[in-house]
């Protein structure tokens, strides 16, 4: 299974500036592992020490937040899109 993963602008410098990448995997967890293996700089920003997605970063499969699906175990179908959306707070002073 190959899906489109959208990289938010704060993480793009860690993914060679790309705004989206194609990655393989059958679940959200597999895709995120492939992402951080391909772009190791993203790991610390995206995941905590236990490998869980940080609580200020939301992962969406298409329009749905995985916290309200099966979390990182959420299964992925062909053609799905995965978005990484971090909280941002700038107003900006």
């Amino acid at each position: 299974m190959s899906v489109l993963v959208r990289i938010p602008t704060p993480l793009r410098p860690l993914a060679n500036g790309q705004n989206e990448v194609q990655l393989a995997g059958g679940s959200v967890r597999e895709i995120l592992e492939n992402l951080v293996n391909s772009y190791p700089g993203i790991r610390e920003r995206l995941m905590d020490e236990k490998g869980e997605v940080r609580r200020f970063i939301n992962i969406y499969v298409n329009e749905e937040d995985i916290r309200f699906l099966d979390g990182t175990h959420t299964r992925i179908k062909d053609g799905d899109e995965l978005s990484i959306i971090p909280a941002i707070a700038g107003g900006c002073r």
């Binding site: 200020f56 309200f68 909280a87 707070a89 107003g91």
Partner: protein, 267 residues
């Protein structure tokens, strides 16, 4: 309240919209909106709400205008550098529309004063620059049952959501349960922001405020809008109310406003 001649002329483009009309314009003139932050977002929000004739606009900001603000904070100008932002905002908004009663609040927003600051307003607009403030603003708006129009910008990206956790719709804690710990991610001044983004996101916030005040259209209260300036995309994702939300969920653990508004701006 009867319109003066000059008001009929000033607001004529609103009054001829049947969705607004004379009644809607009168409503705007009687409305009270509080804006947190007179910065990149607060500037366009305040300018458009003042132009629209929102009768009372409160602005909370304790900072002075800095030269580095002027790349995006269009309430201020070279001649107000060094002056309090709320003073600069007062001058700009009053010059643009003397109908508007501008309430400058140059004190720091804290968990202690936030309830008193919010109480007399109809809608709260968050254009603050740090996570601590965002949670404090969210919690106070929830307890007082005030709609919160939240916007944020960083680098080339912006987000907008209307948060009404006292209804069947989410609050900020449903959307983002936790703030990033300080120091993990680059600060706002390090990361930079394309100045125009404040205009894009701030004007969307201003539209949502007017829709809330007039009760028209579909309010963005179950979605997060994400604007990516580089890819030129606007996308919406669904934001459900979190049944386990510590503030607005079924079994809340937060019963009053607390927390620091000092946290560093992150990610």
């Amino acid at each position: 309240m009867d319109f003066r001649e000059d008001q009929i002329e000033r607001y004529s483009r609103h009054i001829i919209l049947k969705e607004v009309g004379g009644a809607g314009q009168r409503k705007l003139l009687e409305s009270r909106v509080l804006i947190i932050g007179a910065g990149g977002l607060g500037s366009p929000v305040a300018l458009y709400l003042a132009a629209a004739g929102v009768g009372t606009i409160g602005i909370v900001d304790m900072d002075n205008v800095d030269l580095s603000n002027l790349q995006r904070q269009i309430l201020h100008s070279t001649k107000t550098v060094g002056k309090p932002k709320v003073f600069s905002a007062f001058e700009t908004l009053t010059a643009m529309n003397p109908d508007v009663h501008v309430v400058p609040v140059s004190e720091k927003l804290t968990a202690e004063n936030v309830m008193d600051l919010f109480r007399d307003y109809d809608v709260i607009v968050d254009g603050s620059d740090n996570f601590g403030t965002r949670y404090v603003v969210n919690d106070a708006a929830f307890f007082l049952k005030k709609p919160l129009v939240s916007g944020s910008i960083l680098r080339f990206e912006g987000q907008v959501a209307v948060l009404e956790g006292y209804k069947d719709t989410p609050c900020y804690r449903c959307l983002y349960p936790e703030a990033p710990p300080p120091g993990l991610v680059p600060s706002c001044s390090e990361a930079g922001v394309l100045g125009v983004l404040g205009g894009t996101i701030g004007t969307l916030q201003a539209v949502e405020v007017i829709k809330l005040l007039l009760g028209m259209g579909e309010v963005l209260n179950d979605r997060l809008l994400i604007y990516d300036a580089l890819a030129m995309t606007f996308r919406k994702v669904r934001v459900p109310k979190d049944p386990n939300c510590p503030l607005c969920g079924a079994h809340p653990s937060i019963h009053s406003v607390s927390g620091s508004t000092d946290w560093a701006c992150s990610i």
